[in-house]
């Protein structure tokens, strides 16, 4: 959810860090130098959100990547990674759906070696692959994400003030806020400027890369799918001209470059990495997170653990967060299991299910009884209230209770009709 770098993540960091007296510079500014993060960053390299869910007929996997920008970069690769396996967190195969764009924003996408599409993908019907295994849309859409950013900021400000006022933090890192503070935090989260909650992102539009792909292209390792997305710089020696054609007429896939951005679940990279750290420190860590290879992802569980303690205290009770039962006798490891799960930052989808109604359904079912089918594809559709579900789990261990007062987007999006997101 990098598009909220200047909203959610920064607001969290500033509200908390500021009141703790550790407010620090992000990057030095100079009056005539174009050196601010805002200006230096390329919004075309910034993934807003990732959505992934199965079609109601159980034949396709739908994938959506929103980009902060209006247009895709002509120098980057946009990649969906679909890992698959028979068991939760034990994926054995990977299929990449990689797209690139030219200066006119014409798209060219490869679905592994199974299909290929090239052309103007900006019409609502998108483009169908040569082998009809893939459909791609790439263009401007209404942004489906919704979030009461101002209310959350106000709530975090209350928590930050309590911390500055001396709230005691336990050995696991959970602050004892007390009932009054807790009530105020959660109440502020549900309102905007003291009134009814409003969606900070109402009316926002984003470039969206939308893919519908046959499930049998991506479930080669099993029916449990783990999806993440990345933006990559092509290798320096990659020719800008189309690579040589293979015998089946599909051009050879480009070599994937180094990642510069990645997203799995909502609010993980941005929300859980160093919100109490100075901005330059958390920014560097986020850069490392974005560029890390999957084998290095577990190293971020320590960072995430530290933040989970803060969230756990927001309802005035420490120790009632999702997954905390894993180490009841070891407070310092109270948040380790959940941190470990979240560091494996992929959206989990049970491709056996055709109903998709619940965010984190696969993870919740596994937590309840390992190996049990969720009966729901989980993943993330454009209609899920992921913010409420995720924060509520972190605060009180349930998928409701820490609501931000915004339950749906201002526009109606579809989970069945391609390209799913409402027109801008």
């Amino acid at each position: 959810m990098n598009r909220l770098r200047f909203a959610t993540r920064r607001l969290v960091a500033m509200a908390v860090a500021g009141s703790l007296g550790v407010l620090a510079a992000s990057v030095t500014h100079a009056s005539d130098h174009l050196d601010t993060p805002t200006v230096i960053a390329d919004p075309a390299a910034d993934i807003g959100d990732l959505f992934a869910w199965t079609s109601p007929d159980g034949r396709r996997l739908n994938l959506v990547m929103t980009i902060v920008a209006h247009q895709f970069s002509d120098r980057l690769q946009y990649v969906f990674h679909v890992d698959s396996g028979a068991r939760f967190r034990k994926t054995t195969a990977t299929t990449s759906i990689a797209c690139r764009f030219d200066a006119a924003n014409l798209a060219e996408c490869w679905a592994g070696d199974a299909d290929y599409v090239r052309g103007d993908a900006s019409k609502p019907a998108g483009l169908e692959g040569r082998n009809r295994r893939l459909r791609v849309f790439a263009g401007l859409r209404d942004d489906p994400f919704f979030n009461n950013v101002k209310g959350v900021r106000a709530g975090l400000g209350v928590a930050a003030a309590a911390l500055q006022g001396g709230a005691v933090v336990d050995a696991a890192g959970c602050p004892a806020f007390g009932d009054a503070t807790s009530r105020e935090v959660l109440d502020r989260w549900r309102h905007t400027d003291g009134g009814p909650a409003t969606n900070f992102l109402a009316g926002w539009t984003s470039a969206a890369l939308v893919v519908a792909i046959d499930l049998d292209v991506v479930d080669t390792g099993g029916k449990l799918l783990a999806v993440w997305a990345s933006v990559r710089k092509p290798p320096a020696d990659e020719s800008p001209v189309a690579p040589r054609a293979k015998t089946d007429g599909i051009p050879a896939r480009p070599t994937l470059g180094e990642p510069i951005e990645r997203v799995g679940r909502a609010l993980t990279g941005n929300g859980l990495l160093g919100p109490l750290a100075p901005n330059d420190v958390s920014g560097r860590r986020k850069e490392e997170y974005n560029r890390a290879a999957p084998s290095d992802w577990p190293q971020f569980s320590t960072d995430i653990q530290q933040t989970l303690g803060l969230y756990d205290g927001f309802d005035g009770r420490c120790g009632n967060q999702w997954y905390v039962d894993a180490y009841p006798e070891l407070p310092t490891l109270r948040y380790a299991a959940l941190a470990n799960l979240l560091a494996d930052d992929r959206l989990w989808i049970d491709a056996r299910a055709t109903a998709c109604t619940r965010y984190l359904a696969v993870e919740l079912a596994e937590a309840e009884r390992p190996g049990t089918a969720a009966g729901d594809c989980g993943g993330r559709t454009p209609s899920y209230d992921v913010i409420d579900a995720f924060r509520s789990l972190l605060v009180g261990g349930n998928t409701t209770g820490a609501d931000d007062g915004v339950e749906h987007d201002d526009r109606a999006h579809s989970t069945v009709e391609f390209p799913f997101l409402a027109a801008p």
Partner: protein, 379 residues
């Protein structure tokens, strides 16, 4: 706001016949950046999305600097003037005021931001850049060297390079600019284009190496073809080496996109000299109106450029003198002195010219060619 040497454009126009060759300067490895057109579309999208929200001023100032869009400058400064409730907002107002060349007020905002708890690192960097822009680079070189050593990166190195350029250490500046480019890890073309523009300005305006400058401007324009100031600077070099057709075509594109007054004035002067005096006069008259309109809104930001215009095709030495004095009051750079001296001479003020010439070396503490901080001005 792009800066130009006193009477530079008009002088090069007068010396077309003895133009220099187009020797290539050293240009670094190519940068894999998003195309300029896409980057600008995305910048505009982000500006529209943020409406009047936080940090939009930065984006508006970028639009003004790169595209010569002074309506964006108007909006950025209006927003910044209305927001000063905390250290961050005061720093933003300082940046905006600095972009308008209201340097004294910008420095006051930096002090206020410090009192309001803004990060010493941010306030220190901003203060240093203002001092560089006001001819006091020598005071901050050591500080910037220490900063670049402590936290090497694009921000610290580009700031140090700008200071080196301002004190005449051109080779050092270029070396540090190259290092700053190496620190960048973004696909945004804006910071790369800015550094090439800064290097081009340094080599052409201060170090007297137009061939090297041309290579830098060319590189900036490969990254961002719409970069108005780089186009105008490159057009001036093209005029100097006799490629009038390329200069005219380039300036016409800039004028069509932005109405940039310096481009209009140079285009008018070119047309006037190349057989189309009527069109030339119209363009110069339009440049005059545009300069005056901008001066009414941002008097300090455009004082130096307008003074140069009135010393050249604007043909009003009294107006040039007035504007040059205004500019000199705001910043005592070599270039500000040189401009005032030229305006004094052009308006028959030989005594004032002598006094200013005597003061110039003492104020800036440097001998050598007239220098100025490379500042795309409010751009």
């Amino acid at each position: 706001m792009r800066s130009g040497g006193p009477g530079r454009a008009w002088l090069v126009l007068a010396s077309v016949a003895c133009g220099a060759g187009n020797a290539a300067g050293a240009v670094d490895r190519p940068h894999a950046t998003t195309s300029g057109a896409i980057a600008i579309a995305n910048l505009d999208h982000e500006i529209a999305r943020r409406q009047d929200g936080a940090e939009v001023e930065e984006l508006l100032l970028a639009r003004a600097r790169f595209l010569g869009d002074y309506e964006s400058l108007d909006r950025a400064t209006a927003l910044a003037e209305g927001r000063f409730g905390n250290g961050g907002e005061l720093l933003q107002r300082a940046r905006s005021r600095s972009a308008e060349h209201r340097f004294a007020e910008a420095l006051a905002d930096v002090v206020a931001a410090e009192r309001a708890g803004a990060s010493p690192e941010e306030t220190g960097a901003l203060r240093a850049s203002i001092l560089v822009a006001t001819g006091r680079a020598a005071e901050v070189v050591a500080q910037l060297e220490a900063g670049a050593g402590r936290r090497p990166g694009f921000a610290s190195r580009s700031a140090l390079a700008g200071a080196y350029a301002a004190v005449g250490r051109f080779d050092d500046a270029d070396r540090v600019y190259v290092a700053a480019l190496g620190d960048l890890d973004t696909t945004s073309p804006f910071p790369y284009a800015w550094v090439y523009f800064a290097r081009g300005s340094m080599w052409s305006e201060q170090a007297g190496d137009p061939a090297r400058a041309e290579a830098m401007y060319t590189q900036a324009l490969i990254l961002l073809p719409e970069f108005a100031a780089a186009n105008v600077h490159l057009a001036e070099l093209e005029v100097a080496r006799g490629d009038l057709a390329s200069a005219v075509a380039r300036l016409e594109r800039v004028v069509a996109a932005s109405g940039e007054p310096e481009a209009l004035a140079l285009l008018g002067a070119l047309h006037a000299r190349t057989g189309d005096p009527v069109r030339g006069r119209l363009e110069i008259a339009r440049a005059r109106r545009r300069f005056e309109a901008l001066l009414a809104r941002h008097p300090l930001a455009f004082a130096d450029h307008a003074a140069e215009f009135y010393l050249g095709p604007g043909a009003d030495a009294e107006r040039a003198w007035s504007l040059a004095c205004q500019n000199l009051a705001g910043r005592q750079t070599d270039r500000a002195f040189a401009l005032a001296i030229e305006a004094a001479r052009a308006s028959g003020r030989s005594r004032e010219a002598s006094v200013l010439a005597a003061r110039m070396g003492r104020a800036t503490g440097r001998q050598g060619p007239a220098s100025r901080a490379v500042s795309p001005g409010p751009r």
